[in-house]
Every structure is written in structure tokens, then in C-alpha cells.
Symmetry: C2
Subunit: 166 residues, 2 copies
Amino acid sequence: MLDRQKKILYFNTFLNFSRFIYVNLEKQWEKVARESGLSSAQQHCLWILFIHEGMTLTQLSNIALWNKSTTSEIVTRLEKKKWIYKKRDNHEIKLYLTEDGKSLVKNSVKNSSCEQFISIFDSLEEDEIKQILETLKQSCDLISLNENKDFKSFVLNYSKDIKDKL
Amino acid sequence: MLDRQKKILYFNTFLNFSRFIYVNLEKQWEKVARESGLSSAQQHCLWILFIHEGMTLTQLSNIALWNKSTTSEIVTRLEKKKWIYKKRDNHEIKLYLTEDGKSLVKNSVKNSSCEQFISIFDSLEEDEIKQILETLKQSCDLISLNENKDFKSFVLNYSKDIKDKL
């Protein structure tokens, strides 16, 4: 058991590093989105539906980590732009990308900001990248990954779902 | 060199895990702050000045990762509440906590939400915690830690600066 001062020290270091990573990623992600004429939230939403089509609004909000009303606003705006559409399936309403929406996502990963952005791991070996991701997953687990089953299953099935889509 | 699909896969996993960690930490941090009658931004600001008193507004904004005008607004509000004060030192204006500000920070880490919050590493050995923090630092480096010297020096000197303060 650590003494209290060390506990606070480690915890705050964790908090500050996590903030730094997120804030900087978000800033660059915003730049990538702008090149496609999107907000970063819209881009995030389109990406999630691109990877895993046919999810409900609740699932989307759990994965994007937005509350329901924010998610609903973003979806409505993207629907108006004809990038996504809703389809009733039994008693559920599910969300899908239109062909235009799919092209938008595919093109967005080709722009130069995105190219630069996804290349941050280029200096590492694959094993090192996997080690980083494993540690991040461990951190998510400590925080409460198990409580958000939609998010967990989305991220962990990512590699299966993305296959042949790009 | 990874193929493009793997690159996008790893990158997106990194992005999603980082978002999950940050959003969930922020949510809990907000709860801790509320128990002390603060916003999470105010609490973040007080914490930074508690650890390292006498910084300029520019340094504070680099460490808190806010732009100058946001930082200035937060500082003004905390000054009005008499938790921080400004002091001219040569040609620079530096920020300090008042005695009330210091008590507020010290008491805030004693409340029950905070106790729970800083205990997320309790199930780990110290070496494992250090490993997580090292990996996060590595991720920060990949993103651009070197470009933000104020933040880097703040986080890396944390353990020295926090000594005897709590």
C-alpha cells in the first residue's frame, strides 16, 4: 500500500498526462475534421458508424461518450446533410451511413493532416504500439471500462470490424 | 512499417482509449470539485498553483492546456473569491494561492469522492503504476510533449514540488 502523498502524486501525474494526450489529440483531430468540412464531433460520429453500421442512438452515445441529447443533435445534423439515415428494425431505430457518408469518411483519411496524424506511431515497432494500447486498456479497466459494455465491445472488436472497409 | 489498415486501426484504438480515460476522469474530477464548491477548471487551476506557486499566466495556460483568455477568466474569478492573488516580480506578474486557497486545496483531497478517485491504483503494485505512467509519458512524447516545455517540466518535477505540501 502506498503512502498518501505518493498516491496523490501518481494519481495527479496520471491525470495530467491523460489530459495532455487527449487535449492534443482532440486539437489535431479537429484539424483533420475541418479539412473535410466537419466538426470533430461529426467526424467522430461518422467514423463510429463507418466501422460498425446499424447501431442504435443509445449504443452510439455510449461509444462516443456523449449524453443522449448531444448525440441526437449530432445525428440530426448529419441526417440533414444526407450522410446518415435511420432505418426501423423491429422495435429499434438503427443508424447507417449513406453512400455519400461512406465516401466522406474514406476520403477524410486520405487528407494530409490525417496522414500526419495517424503516423505518430511510425517510429515504433508493432510490439511497442501493442504495449502502449495494452497499457491504455488497463487504465480504462481501472477507471470503469466494464461498466460501458457498448464501448468495450466496439473498441475490442475494432480490428475485426474495420477489415476490408478501407 | 505497418500497412495502412493496421496503422488506422492502431491509431483509432489509441484515440478511443485516450478519449475514454479522459472523459471518465473529467467526469469524476468534476464530482470532486463540486464537493468543494468549485468547477473542475477552477480546481485544476488551484491544484497547479498549489504544487508550483509563482507562475505567470502564460506558464499556467501552458500547463493547464487552456488558451490565454480562458486562463485569464478563470484566474480573475478565483482572484475575486480571494483564493489566489497576483504579485509583480520584476517585469512579470506571478500568481500565488492565498492561505484560504491553500486550505481549500488541502481540504478538497480529503473529501470522499476524492479519496475514491485517487484510489484507482490501489489494486496495483508500485512498479505497475510506474509502468503505466511511463507509457503515458511515452505517448505524450509521440504527440508533442517536447513542444510544451512548461507542461513537461511541471509534470516531471511534480514529485519534487509536491513534497511536504500535503
